[in-house]
Symmetry: C2
């Protein structure tokens, strides 16, 4: 297994995606946890395979794939008959999974870029109360859409089973909870979250440092 290697950082949403797929597919790999604090993603071990100096960085023999969505799709294709199938074969079911999978990137913009990063980087925008209030409202509106999807989707975000759409959606929810999101305002998302945290692939990939330190309250009003 030594030639299948994933470099990842704890708590990184993009890193969590391929880790979930590797678990769902039952693929053994050499797990290399890097420290963002020590800037190991810019160190020689990662840079050797990924000149952008980012994680996830994934090596599979003589194949290198570094974009998280590319890794996920690569693994689903290579291991299409192994473990859990994450892209349905039915055209209509697959259409919904694809739609939700990419639509989830709206959560990146509205939750992480527009709010969480601003706190992490102590952005001057934090002093602009109106602007931050509008950002929180935009995130609430976005989450309300997903709350609605879960009302009718059948338990998972794009149907009755765990798919690539959950691989994209769940890490955002978990990260937002860590950042203070109160799920009691979103009962369908709460049920979804409570169900997913017990899933073996999720438990096996839970960010290790989350157990050691408290989160933030940056999203408590969303």
């Amino acid at each position: 297994m030594a030639d299948t290697i994933l470099f990842w950082g704890s708590g990184s949403v993009p890193c969590w995606r391929p880790m979930l797929v590797l678990e769902e597919k039952g693929v053994k790999y050499d797990s290399r946890l890097i420290s963002f604090g020590n800037k190991e993603h810019k160190g020689p071990d990662v840079m050797k395979y990924n000149p952008r100096g980012q994680v996830p960085t994934f090596v599979d023999g003589d194949i290198v794939v570094n974009e998280s969505l590319a890794i996920c799709n690569y693994l689903e294709y290579k291991y299409s008959d192994q473990g859990n199938k994450l892209l349905p074969t039915d055209v209509k079911e697959r259409a919904l999974v694809l739609q939700r999978q990419y639509e989830a990137l709206n959560l990146n913009k509205k939750g992480i870029e527009d709010i969480i990063y601003k706190h992490m980087r102590n952005s001057p925008d934090l002093q602009d109360e109106e602007k931050m209030k509008a950002s929180i409202q935009a995130l609430s509106d976005e989450l309300a859409l997903w709350e609605g999807y879960l009302q009718t989707s059948g338990g998972y975000i794009a149907g009755k089973g765990f798919t690539m759409a959950d691989v994209m959606f769940f890490p955002y929810v978990a990260f937002f909870v860590r950042m203070g999101l109160q799920l009691n305002k979103y009962p369908n998302i709460k049920n979804y979250y409570d169900n997913l945290v017990t899933r073996p692939s999720v438990k096996a990939t839970w960010p290790p440092h989350w157990a050691e330190s408290a989160g933030k309250e940056w999203l408590k009003d969303a």
Copy 2:
């Protein structure tokens, strides 16, 4: 054909992607050009299918898919044996196509968000000469990476044939040229561009308003 509908805006990079795939696959569709100037993407025809009020919006019978990458992947899957194959079956070749396909999104950040949008929206950042110079340099560095990929890739961005990676990469190049990028600094990208502009799928989907008005010079120093 009336039940396969694409709503799109002229010059939109995300809209161009599924249009290229539809042409490459030889899929006939009802083409609905909307006007951004008249805010038709927020009008009832689009909103009926896409509450986010964005294009592309794609309807295929009772299936609706609105995220550009989701539409592309949906079409490649549904029409896998029709027209040109955009995702190779070979695992290693496919890995490279997937990697470049998602890696191309760096051009969105470095070219469109950090430079072009700032001009379009007359951002205060335009007064910060150092900041804009750094952004131009970051785009040049990014383009240099792609110039390098084309040195060895075999003519297209991820191999010897046109793939989903070109569907992602080419519209950025064409848009950047429209926005003033001088390709003489990037001879491999220039050869690539000169080759692709004659491709039938590209000619058939060229943004119509580009023929009617001049572009900008915002990227002339990149």
